[in-house]
Every structure is written in C-alpha cells, then in structure tokens.
Amino acid sequence: MDFELMQESWPKLVGAIPETLILAGSSLSIGFVIAVFVALARLSSNKVLSNLAYGYMYIFRSTPLLVQIFLIYYGSGQFRPFLEEYGLWVFFKESWFCAILALTLNTGAYTSEIIRGGIQSVPWGQLEAARACGMSGFLLFRRITFPIAMRQALPGYGNEIILMIKSTSLASIITILEITGVAKKIIAATWSPVEIFIIAGGIYLAINFILTRLVQWAEIKLSPQLYRDRVSFWTMLFKKEENPTAVDQVAR
C-alpha cells in the first residue's frame, strides 16, 4: 500500500466531486420534469400519446447508457453540417452537453416509471373527495395527485438518485474529468489501482450514504403522521440505532 500516493492524490479526487454532483444534479432535475410529463402521457386516455410515452420509456430502459451517450456524442458528428445550419453544433460539440443530455433522457425514462407507479397508487377516494370539493384539472393534480404520488414514489426515486450518481462515471469515457475520470487518469499514470480505488470508491460510498439518508429523512418529513418521534437530520445521519420506527398502522 502506497500511502504517499494516497495522500498525494486524494485532493485531486475530492476536487472532482463537484463535477459528479453537477452532472447528476442537472440531469436528475431536468429528467424529473421530463418524467412527470412522460408519466402523465403514459396515463392519458389518448392512445397515441400513451404509446409514445411507453416507447420512449421502453427504448431507453432497454439499452445501455453507454450506447446512448455514444449515439449523442459521436453520432451527432455525422449530422454536423445540418446541426451547424441550425446553430445547434455549439451544443453538440461540448462533451458536457452530450453527457447531460444522455443522462437526462436516461433518467427521465426510469423516473417516469417510478412516478407513474406513484400516481397510480393515489387512492381513488382522495380524487373523489377533491372532485366533490370542486377541484379539477391542474388544481387537482397540483394539490392532491402530485403530492401523494411523490410520497409514494420517494423510496423508488431514492434508488434512482443512487443509480444516477453511479451512472455519471460513464461521462468520464467522453473525456469529462469527474471522479472516475480523474481516478482512471491517476491509475493509468501510476499503475497502482488499489490505492486510488479505495479513495474514489470511498468518495462514492460517502456521497451515496448521505443521499440515502437525505431521502429517508425527506420521507419522514413528508409523512410525519407515520412516525412516532421527531428527528433531526443529524441524528439520522450519525446514529443508526436511533432511527425512528414507523408506527404500526394497525395499532393506530
């Protein structure tokens, strides 16, 4: 074990954390918006719309992310004259744009399924009650369907967040220097994979650990009626055994 190398290289790897988080954060947030629309299209009574949404979801979930990234990053080069004509080439020549576009389309497909599940799990009675109060359309969606659906979808969405953090590593293949990219560069130069792997892997584990705990905390905050004690985020992060226990539904 080469501790000197570890000491030398950890600042470089830690310095690459923002790149990973920017990639994941921007694609998750844009992807989420896409996913809401796709989920709604999927559930709409319009056959064409729902089939289109299904096709998008199916295609992007059945193919590797790497193909999607290459298709956008390298594939756009084949249409360069066309893209230049419409002024789009400035975007497609940037590897950052291509990576975020591919990641966004990918997470949009996965998230749309999670959100669809959430929307479908909204109890019918809630919608009936809202209609009885005179809500309809967008108001009903904004006030009743969406909040309840989000609570249902949150655990699944937490998994998707972790998957996206892991997926950002593929951006390193198209020259973006996020954590994995930097790690590969150092490994290739020093030929000591274990040391770098420990640091880079540790960083990913730490990010994912904090994110899972954040999602759990959000779950509690959004459905406080299900939990006995109030908890702060810090107690959740550091004291596992003091995690709040869900109150037994039947007992209530």
């Binding site: 295609i59 059945s62 193919t63 590797p64 992310l65 790497l66 193909v67 999607q68 290459f70 298709l71 390298y74 594939g75 756009s76 080069g77 084949q78 249409f79 972790i162 892991k166 997926s167 950002t168 590593s169 593929l170 390193s172 293949i173 994995t180 790690a183 590969k184 490994i187 290739a188 030929w191 994979p193 274990v194 792997f197 880079a200 892997g201 990913y204 584990l205 994912n208 650990f209």
Partner: protein, 236 residues
C-alpha cells in the same frame, strides 16, 4: 446514413457487428451465471448465524452497489494482472509475464457487480419461503441436504425468478462497459467501424437496436420462464 455499410461480408460491417453481438451474449451469460454463484454464496452468508460472515456479505453488497461499475472494471483491469503475477511467482515460482485474458477480466468485473444484486434477490427469495414448510420437512424426517434440495431450492428458484430477470437486464447492459478495456463486443466493433467509416451514428444506432433486440427477446424468455415456474401455483 449509408446502410450499405451494414451488409454481411467483406464489403460491410454486418458480420463484425454480429460477432460483437455474440461476444456480448457470451460475456453477459458467463458473468450472469458467475453472478448467480456469487449471489448464492453471499446470500447464504447474509443469512448465516455468524456475525463475521454477515458483515463480509453486507460489506460486499454495500460497496459494490454503491460505487460505479466502471471503477470496479478499472480496478480489476489494472490490478488483476499484478495479483495474478504475484500469485504465479509466489506460489508456483513462475516469473514470466502473464496477464488475465480480457474476457476473464470482463466476466469477473460484471460477475462481481451482478453478484451483488443477485445476492439481494436470492436472500429475499429464501426469506420468502414460509418457515412452516421447513418445519414440516423436518417433522417428516428430512435431513438437512434433503430439506435444502427438495423444499428450499425449488421454491427459492420460483420466488427469485422475476428479480433475477431484472438482474439479467442489468448485466446485459453493463457488459457494454467492458468495451472500454478492449473486449470485442458490440460497442467495440461499432467504435472501430466508426473510426474507419466516419459514420458514427449509423453504427451506434445499429448497436442501440442490437441491445434493444437482445433485451426484448430475453425479457420475453424470462416472462415465459416465470409463467412456467408458476404453473400449478394457486392464484389467490
């Protein structure tokens, strides 16, 4: 887009893409099976009475599921050869330069990560078998091994099948990453073809549809296997 580039034979890249697809299928199948072996072993460890075994298995699934596969691939690709050489030198006294074949490296990497997901699926399936069944088997005097083969395995296989189907889809998609270290799979062949024809979109679109086809066909296969495994089970 020039589709004549995709003809089969010397003039086009059709045969290369097909060979790539076969390679993808081969490496996906091997690493999937390896993953199931890992999954069975680590699921047993997770359900064991010994704290240390549970700890090891927990560490395995947490670490592998928490870090990107690409990082694992780099670790095995750059580190596997060194380990192999030191073992060869220390244990067998073989000092020549040897390296892991790329197929084995890829199979190991994807197998390790697929194994972490299989572990959770198999553990869940084992826990889904009602305790009463094991007790009943014990009551009629079955030995430990007989209980395992006659009661546990058939039911675990049935419960685990949907989850293992998902793991297969994951594994199939993950194999695309091994092209990064040079295995001649679909991605690698598309990349080479792109280099010499300057038509990246054509080839990556072909790759896209090849993966889509593989995923759809195997998905259908798993659905049929599920129906088959549930025959005779009462639907409530």
């Amino acid at each position: 887009m020039d589709l004549s580039l995709l003809v089969y034979g010397d003039a086009g890249w059709g045969d290369e893409m097909l060979m790539g697809a076969l390679m993808t299928i081969a490496v996906a199948t091997c690493s999937y099976l390896l993953g199931i072996v890992f999954g069975a072993v680590f699921a047993t460890m997770k359900l064991s009475h010994y704290y240390i075994l549970r700890l090891i298995a927990d560490a395995y699934t947490t670490i592998i599921r928490g870090i990107p596969e690409l990082l694992v691939i780099y670790l095995v690709f750059f580190g596997g050869g060194a380990v192999l050489r030191s073992v060869a030198k220390g244990v067998f006294g073989y000092g020549e330069y040897i390296d892991l074949p790329i197929f084995v490296t890829g199979m190991l990497c994807i197998g390790i990560s697929s194994g972490a997901y299989s572990t959770e699926v198999i553990r869940g399936a084992v826990q889904a078998v009602p305790v009463g069944q094991i007790e009943a088997a014990r009551a009629v005097g079955m030995s430990k091994w007989l209980r395992f083969w006659r009661i546990l395995v058939p039911q675990v296989a049935r419960y685990a099948l949907p989850g293992l189907g998902n793991v297969w889809q994951l594994t199939l998609k993950e194999t695309s990453l091994i092209s990064v270290i040079g295995l001649a799979d679909i991605m690698r062949h598309s990349y080479i073809a792109m280099g010499s024809t300057k038509e990246p979109f054509t080839f990556f679109l072909t790759a896209f549809f090849l993966y889509l086809g593989l995923a759809s066909i195997s998905n259908r296969g798993f659905l049929r296997a599920e129906t088959w495994s549930n025959r005779g089970v009462r639907v409530t």
